[in-house]
């Protein structure tokens, strides 16, 4: 990865104070939705954030999309800091970062024509000629496999898969550097998912755009991404290049996720790891490793008291777990 990353997130935190009426609106607890997140997204690459509900992936997306303000930490797009953007810099950021959301039915304004939806990122940020807008709309609609002549139609005249394509066309129209894909195929019919995923992959090369993919389906993550970061309670517990992660998952939670995922064939042999208990809520998480209450491989007291650092091992495979700290300390191969 010689060139600079498109997106760099460092020690990102988003805490929501919960106030209590009874105690005169004092902060009684803290929802630590995102709690110390650091990762990069390279140019033209796809990084997947994988996790269950409450892990903070949606909040992370909102922070990067500047729909919410972080409690602390930095988000850098190229060499622009996302915080406190004003005027020209703000508009430029809006053009550079776009999103495609999960639900194709609520993602498009039912009262707007497709051409207006697709051109919105173009027209709100700077003055463009009608001809320029028209040409770009036709170009992106064609790129996503839709007929530009249909640009005058309304969203309800299209199927779910086509609506996701319209959303993608809209995201591509301002030639962004980064598109956040939030569960982009989960609401689509199974037979439509494949063509949509293929489209995302093809257009990434054509438009040289990076994707941050937020997904719960591990197989989709494997198919679409170059790197995967596994999140739990607002932290990254494991992060590696996709093939490395899937060949050699290390963190106990990652292993449990893999064991829980549905098999592709009845004869697939899996280690049976069933986690007890509920998916945790990020309100006042326990001290120490966030996973220790459910971890089948808990070592002991150290897990309850100390948050394991995210240590990078060979091959850029990072894990946040004391098991590997000890091993690494023993063999002396850990890097900070």
């Amino acid at each position: 990865m010689a060139s600079d990353p498109t997106l760099r997130v460092e020690e990102l935190r988003r805490h929501f104070p919960v106030t209590s009426w009874r105690r005169f609106r004092k902060t009684t607890s803290l929802v630590k939705a995102v709690d110390g997140l650091s990762f990069d997204v390279g140019q033209g690459e796809t990084v997947a954030l994988v996790g269950e509900s409450g892990c903070g992936k949606t909040t992370t997306a909102k922070l990067i999309l500047a729909l919410d303000v972080p409690t602390s930490g930095t988000i850098m797009l190229g060499d622009t800091n996302v915080q406190n953007l004003r005027g020209e810099a703000y508009r430029h950021y809006r053009e550079q970062v776009q999103a495609v959301f999960q639900d194709p039915w609520s993602s498009l304004n039912p009262r707007m024509r497709v051409k207006e939806i697709v051109s919105e990122p173009l027209v709100v940020n700077r003055k463009r000629s009608r001809r320029e807008v028209h040409a770009r709309v036709a170009e992106v609609l064609d790129a996503v496999g839709l007929n530009p002549a249909h640009a005058d139609r309304f969203p309800h005249e299209f199927s779910g898969g086509q609506r996701q394509r319209i959303a993608l066309a809209s995201a591509l129209s301002s030639d962004p550097k980064l598109i956040i894909l939030d569960e982009p195929v989960s609401s689509l019919d199974v037979s439509i998912r494949a063509q949509t995923m293929n489209l995302f992959r093809d257009l990434q090369g054509q438009f040289n755009v990076s994707y941050l993919l937020i997904v719960h389906d591990l197989a989709v993550a494997r198919y679409m991404s170059d790197e995967v970061a596994v999140m739990y309670l607002g932290k990254i517990v494991e992060h590696a290049r996709t093939e490395d992660l899937f060949r050699d998952p290390r963190h106990p939670y990652t292993k449990a996720l893999f064991a829980a995922a549905l098999p592709g064939h009845p004869d697939v042999q899996r280690e049976e790891i069933i986690l007890e208990g509920e998916v945790p809520s990020p309100i006042d998480p326990p001290p120490g490793c966030p996973f220790h209450p459910r971890c089948p491989m808990k070592i002991g007291e150290i897990c309850e008291t100390t948050v394991p650092a995210l240590r990078t091992h060979e091959g850029r495979h990072a894990v946040s777990c004391h098991l590997y700290d000890e091993e690494a300390a023993a063999t002396g191969t850990a890097e900070a």
Binding site: S53, M197, Y223, L262, G264
Partner: protein, 350 residues
């Protein structure tokens, strides 16, 4: 991984458990002002005691309407069952009156729906709702006995601390717990069959794993038969003994799960399996099925999949293919496709 009954059979006992449900040529249509939608258009399958059958289909395939039709619960006012038989222990459920059906629903055959939010009444405690299930099912009477039965069944679905939980309201429970309470209500009257329509769609991955394990446990202990309605081949691979694949109101392929995965014989089945990304291996490129499922209400002639099938010819478009049996040397593996006239043919994509 399979139910106790099926495992026993597999172990070479040779004797299959009896068939307790047999559906023959079920037809259930939706009559709307615009058009008549043939949601379920001649569907046949069967279920043995203790077995798990998976019905796989996408939205629009008719699988949910079919599940509802089995219990005469087709959506009103548009829905109407127009033909076929649903033989439960030899007794045709479609000939029964609503009063007689009430004795079957929830007691002999129960149903779990997709959304636990709407399955549970938000204004009653879960203890209350379970008690009602027991009382209307006439399984128990007398407050003491009912209360004990409620706690017992909560324990059976692995809800910790059941004595305390009975006073909880649905909104106080997580998604996974709600779905387990729904499951508890479903098994409260020890039914012969549980029909589960996409029960895990809204659940997180690890919670889904717990839930599926629970269903297997319940099957092992009670021998209940399960019909899984799903769009996910993964659920089928993990949970089912046999599979039926539905497309546009018809079952296009049917067989034991291994046989179907190893030798998918209908082009749609093959295409669907190939278009799903795999967790266990790296996929270079997914196969994507061209076109779209047929619009409901469209009058269809011939094979329903012909318009999207790369192996289709003129006859496929004009005449609906017959059922071919004995695929992959399993007499129970069948598929409806004209290409199978050639017994060595398999849908290998180009």
């Amino acid at each position: 991984m399979r139910s106790a009954a099926a495992v026993q059979e597999h172990a070479g006992a040779g004797v299959q458990p009896e068939v307790i449900l047999e559906v023959k040529d079920l037809r259930s249509y939706l009559f709307t002002k615009r058009a008549t939608i043939k949601a379920v258009d001649g569907v046949s399958f069967y279920l043995r005691r203790g077995e798990t059958l998976g019905i796989v289909g996408e939205s629009g395939s008719g699988k949910s309407i079919m599940a509802l039709s089995l219990l005469q619960m087709e959506p009103k006012p548009a829905g109407r069952i127009v033909g076929g038989e649903v033989l439960f222990h030899g007794d045709d459920l479609l000939r029964k009156s609503q009063g007689e059906m009430r004795k079957v629903r929830g007691r002999r055959i129960s149903m779990i729906l997709q959304d636990p939010q709407t399955s549970l009444n938000p204004v009653f405690t879960i203890g209350n709702q379970l008690a009602e299930a027991f009382v209307t099912g006439q399984q128990e009477s007398g407050r003491g006995r009912v209360a004990k039965a409620v706690v017992d069944v909560l324990r059976k679905v692995n809800i910790a601390d059941p004595e305390r939980r009975v006073t909880a309201f649905p909104h106080q429970l997580s998604g996974g717990m709600k779905q387990r309470v729904v499951g508890a209500i479903a098994i409260s009257c020890s039914p012969d069959i549980v029909i589960a329509d996409e029960p895990t769609t809204s659940l997180d991955l690890t919670i889904q794993a717990q839930y599926l394990r629970l269903i297997k446990q319940l099957q092992d202990t009670t021998g209940v038969g399960v019909i899984f309605i799903t769009h996910d081949f993964g659920i089928v691979a993990k949970m089912c003994d046999r599979v039926a694949v539905m497309y546009a109101g018809k079952i296009v392929e049917h067989g034991p799960v291994r046989s179907l995965f190893n030798h998918p014989s209908h082009p749609y089945t093959q295409a669907l399996i190939n278009s799903v990304p795999k967790l266990e291996e790296r996929t270079e490129r997914l196969y994507s099925i061209p076109g779209q499922p047929p619009a409901p209400g469209q009058e269809l002639v011939g094979c329903r999949f012909a318009a999207r099938c790369e192996f289709a010819d003129e006859r496929c478009r004009q005449e609906y293919p017959p059922q071919f049996e004995g695929l992959s040397r399993e007499s129970e593996h069948t598929a409806d496709c004209w290409r199978l006239e050639d017994p060595t043919w398999r849908p290998i994509p180009h």
